[in-house]
């Protein structure tokens, strides 16, 4: 399993039956492939529906995901406008949001929407998702392509939201914010604590229950 699939697989194990989940574009969209048997989640799409499913057969007109790409829907889907979509998001009715990050810091701050002077795509729905969802899981590769730390003492990039991240899942480690502290709770198979420390700038506590990452099965459904 490559890094992305490993991360997606681990995040999938965090989801509970009945959870309402919003998945960011990219890596998080791999997560449904790794859901454990018997776990059914409802996917929220910020462009205005609950019940997002994989595209099956020909695309239906005006049925697109938040990336604008054709998608499917499950029985019991509901469509609505952007005001209700974000009332659901901001109002705490989304159990889990999973999204990528450029930087996360030990205060639970996330930066993932702009690199000043370089890349300013806009925050889209990310600020509302991170502010409103009950659980905010940042799913990202542990370090930058050049090997720099992304889990920092303090974010340097403009924030998406302050102090809202609840977990960080990388191909090396699983961190949770517990009582405001960053805690390492799992290490990926074959990864040492020393390697994680070397690639992490943030100060973190190692949980007394820290164990190897649970990754049931191996291949996507």
């Amino acid at each position: 399993m490559d890094a992305k699939n490993l991360i997606a697989c681990r995040v999938a194990q965090e989801l509970k039956d009945g959870d309402v989940v919003n998945l960011g574009i990219g890596l998080p969209t791999l997560i449904p492939d790794y859901l454990p048997e018997g776990i059914r989640i409802t996917l929220q799409s910020e462009n205005g529906f609950l019940g997002l499913g994989p595209l099956v057969g020909d695309p239906l007109p005006d049925l697109v995901n938040a990336g604008g790409k054709p998608c499917g829907m499950v029985p019991g889907t509901a469509f609505f406008d952007s005001a209700l979509s974000f009332a659901i998001i901001r109002g705490g009715h989304v159990d889990v949001t999973v999204l990528g990050g450029l930087e996360v810091d030990q205060l639970g701050n996330l930066a993932n929407w702009m690199v000043p002077g370089k890349m300013v795509p806009g925050m889209g729905g990310a600020m509302d998702l991170v502010t409103g969802a009950r659980n905010v899981i940042v799913a990202m590769e542990h370090a930058t392509k050049s090997g720099g730390a992304k889990i920092l003492y303090r974010c340097s990039l403009p924030l998406t939201a302050a102090g809202k991240v609840t977990s960080i899942v990388t191909e090396l480690a699983f961190f949770r914010f517990i009582d405001g502290q960053l805690v390492l709770t799992e290490t990926a198979p074959g990864i040492t604590l020393e390697e994680i420390r070397a690639k992490t700038e943030a100060e973190f506590i190692v949980s007394t229950q820290c164990c190897e990452m649970k990754l049931p099965g191996s291949t996507p459904k």
Binding site: D17, G18, V20, I39, R40, I41, T42, Q44, F49, L50, G51, M73, P75, G76, T77, A78, F79, F80, F86, A87, I88, I89, R90, G91, G92, H93, T131, G132
Partner: protein, 221 residues
């Protein structure tokens, strides 16, 4: 919420009732109020309620019977004139009444469900409604800051539901129901009919099922 059907019995619902609780109730002069649930609240003996909704109907209809039978400690509503019991108990000092302009009541409940800290409305400026409230001026116009309303329980009346809890209201019975579906810790809807997920056109769903914790089939008792 991944269970096959959200339908519950009155017995199961009663586990959610407790003295002193706050209840958002749908309806406008009784139309759109879940009469079966109101009757069960009465039969359960629960008291010291705070009830929040448009009006207190009549002494023998809708939510009005809870007032008439003295189960209510506080009413938050836009209109109480059609239920003489509400006014009588209020003037006798037995019942606390907070009168809220109808549009402001809708917005306050909407804020409660949407994660918003309040709205700025021109309604009530220059009247006794502004007493004790923060005021803000922009471009020479004064606004009242009106704060969110939430409750422990929301009791809704819908016409149809599917087993995931997606709701369709009928005609003028919609009123406050869709707003209240987001603004309580537990949301129950009394419905005339429950169909399988997929049998309600996704465009027609007025309240997405993820917001609804339980369904009572009307007249089931």
């Amino acid at each position: 919420m991944g269970t096959p059907c959200k339908r519950v019995s009155y017995e199961q619902l009663r586990l959610r009732f407790h003295d002193g609780m706050s209840i958002l109730f749908g309806g406008f002069m009784g139309c759109g109020t879940p009469d079966g649930i109101v009757r069960d609240l009465l039969d359960s003996g629960v008291r010291d309620l705070t009830i929040i909704g448009n009006d207190t109907a009549c002494a023998d209809t809708g939510i009005g019977i809870l007032v008439a039978k003295r189960r209510v400690r506080k009413v938050i509503a836009s209109h109480i004139g059609t239920n003489p019991e509400t006014g009588r108990q209020m003037i006798a000092g037995e019942l606390e009444v907070e009168l809220v302009p109808q549009g402001t009541l809708a917005e306050r409940i909407r804020c409660g469900g949407a994660g918003l800290g309040g709205v700025l409305t021109p309604t009530g400026v220059g009247t006794i409604v502004e007493e004790g409230k923060t005021k803000l001026s922009f471009d020479g116009v004064e606004y009242l800051v009106e704060r969110p309303l939430r409750a422990d329980l929301a009791i809704l009346k819908a016409h149809r539901a599917d087993d995931k809890g997606n709701l369709v209201y009928r005609r003028a019975a919609r009123n406050f129901n869709p707003l209240m579906a987001l603004a309580a810790d537990f949301v129950v809807a009394e419905v005339d009919e429950i169909v399988c997920a997929g049998e309600i056109d996704p465009e027609l769903v007025m309240t997405p099922g993820i917001l609804v914790n339980a369904l009572i089939l009307s007249g089931e008792k």
